[in-house]
Every structure is written in structure tokens, then in C-alpha cells.
């Protein structure tokens, strides 16, 4: 927020003097800040012991996470397979139903019989 105020004193200036402004002028500090912000670090990340340990920890944690996820997926797959097997066994378990037996009976084509008899 800005609030204006009128300076009615003719002897008092509203702006700082040249000396006051020059006090804030410092190109060396500016260059240093610029270097700090833009230059790449002299030491590569993997050569810094602390950063190296941090990188190793990150890699290990990532590996463990993927392992846990893989195991979970395997377990779920196993469960699914077991369920599928169970349901298959139930459907082919011979309930004695005439309709089901009808479905189970292999279908044959009259043309196939003709072909067979020709070869015979």
C-alpha cells in the first residue's frame, strides 16, 4: 500500500542527494550475486560427500518403493489367478444339469463327418 503526502517545506527535498544514492551503488556486489546465481558449482554433486550420501539414500528409497509395489502387484495377481481357478472349477464341476451338459458336449459339423468318410 502506498500513501501520498505533500511536502510543503521548500527547504526539504523529497528525493535523496547524489551522495546518498551513490551509497547504494555497488556493482561489485551485484556481479558477485550474479555469479552466485548463475555459475555452476565447482564441485560436481557426486564428489560432495554429504550430497553423495543423500543421492545414495534417495536411490535406495526409490528402489525399496518399487520393490514393495512389485510385491503388492504379484500378490494381487496370485489372488486373482486363484479366484479364476476356483470359479473355473465350480463351473466345470459336474452339477448334473442337463443344460450345462448340453453346453459341454463338443459340437460337430456334418461336413466334417462327410470329409472323414471320404478319406476313409
Amino acid at each position: 500500500m502506498r500513501e501520498y503526502k505533500v511536502n510543503r517545506d521548500p527547504n526539504k527535498s523529497t528525493v535523496p542527494s547524489k551522495e546518498q544514492i551513490d551509497k547504494h551503488k555497488d556493482f561489485a556486489t551485484l556481479s558477485h550475486k550474479y555469479e552466485k546465481l548463475t555459475k555452476r558449482p565447482k564441485k560436481p554433486l557426486y564428489k560432495d560427500p554429504k550430497l553423495f550420501i543423500a543421492l545414495v539414500v534417495i536411490v535406495i528409497v526409490a528402489y525399496l518403493i518399487t520393490e514393495v509395489i512389485d510385491k503388492d502387484n504379484d500378490k494381487q495377481k496370485d489372488k486373482q489367478e486363484q479366484k479364476d481357478e476356483q470359479s473355473n472349477a465350480e463351473t466345470s464341476g459336474g452339477t448334473g444339469c442337463a443344460m450345462c451338459k448340453e453346453k459341454e458336449r463338443p459340437k460337430y459339423d456334418p461336413d466334417d463327418i462327410e470329409k472323414k468318410s471320404r478319406f476313409d
Binding site: R2, Y4, K5, T14, Y34, L37
Partner: protein, 186 residues
């Protein structure tokens, strides 16, 4: 506050080309524009130390983005003022305290003259105080335009270069704003 002299522009473009290759060549540009940018920011913030910090930040950003600067008729000074304006607005957004900015009475008198308002001495101070209240209440982007024209004494050409608009557009915007202020004022 002039930054449109042709001989200065030639030197600027040479210096900018050098600074794009070698950042140490930014030094002369810094020396040349520091005072103007400092005063520009000071007139918006009103505090010397804060102005110093914001001014350094402006030049740091200019140094980092000098590759992006293309001389398409916009003077380097106007480009710097644009960065400064953004930084000041950002500072205001972050800061919660109110900054008191002292302005010259002459700026207000000039503004009143543009609005064709005048009165006797005693009445004039009262009018000015009322005008200050209106100025404190207007939107920041509108206040900026008034600030540039009347308190930073910039020409319409310079304002147009900062906002990247035509001179006629800058003039129109200012006069429309003055009309609005006049309505709120009375």
C-alpha cells in the same frame, strides 16, 4: 528523465551487445542508469534503504535477462523502468505495511492545472488534501500512470515506451483518468 537521445542510444546498443557476451561489460550501463532507476523506485517507495535493495534486484534481473533485450525501438532505460515497475509492484504485494511517499507540491499544482481546477491560496491547500485522498484511493495501476506523468515528470513518449503503447494512447489514458479523478474529487 530523458532516455531517448539518439547518441546515447548508439552507445547503449554497443554496450548492450558487449554485455550480452561478457557480463562485466554491464558495468557502464549500471553506472549510467543507476541514479535514474533509483529515483524512479524511490518516488514509488519513499524509503531509501528499501529502494536500494529493490534497485539492486532490478539490475540483477536486467543482467540475467539482457539476452532477451532486443532493440526494437524501446530504449534500454524504458526496459529498465519496466522491470523496476514490476519489482515495486511485487514488493507492494509481499509487504503488508503502508509506505508514505512524499510528493512535491508542484506536481499536484501541475495536475490541478491539467484538470483546470484552481482556487485561492487558502482554498488550494484544502483542494490538494482532498485530491491526495482521492489519489490514495484509486487503483494501483491508475496511480502509477499519474505518478509517472505528474510526480516523476515523464513525457507521454517516455510513458508510452514504458507501457509499450503509442504516445496517443498514453495521452488518452492519462486524460481519461484525470476526468475520473475529477469526478471523484468533487
Amino acid at each position: 528523465m530523458k532516455f531517448d537521445k539518439p547518441n546515447i542510444e548508439i552507445n547503449d546498443s554497443e554496450q548492450i551487445a558487449k554485455a550480452k557476451k561478457n557480463r562485466d561489460a554491464f558495468g557502464p550501463l549500471y553506472e549510467k542508469y543507476f541514479e535514474r532507476v533509483f529515483l524512479y523506485i524511490f518516488k514509488k517507495l519513499g524509503d531509501e534503504d528499501t529502494t536500494g535493495d529493490v534497485c539492486q534486484l532490478v539490475f540483477l534481473k536486467a543482467m540475467m535477462n539482457i539476452q532477451k533485450y532486443e532493440d526494437r525501438g524501446v530504449p534500454f532505460g524504458a526496459w529498465l523502468f519496466r522491470i523496476a515497475s514490476n519489482e515495486v509492484n511485487m514488493y507492494y504485494r509481499k509487504s503488508s505495511k503502508t509506505h508514505v511517499v512524499e510528493i512535491e507540491e508542484s506536481g499536484l499544482i501541475n495536475m490541478m492545472g491539467e484538470m483546470e481546477v484552481s482556487g485561492d491560496k487558502a482554498h488550494e491547500i484544502e483542494l490538494q488534501e482532498k485530491l491526495i485522498k482521492v489519489l490514495n484511493a484509486i487503483k494501483p495501476e491508475h496511480a502509477e500512470l499519474i505518478d509517472l506523468r505528474f510526480f516523476q515528470s515523464m513525457s507521454f513518449k517516455e510513458i508510452a515506451e514504458i507501457y509499450d503503447i503509442s504516445e496517443a494512447n498514453a495521452k488518452m489514458k492519462t486524460y481519461r483518468l484525470l476526468e475520473k479523478i475529477k469526478k471523484d474529487w468533487f
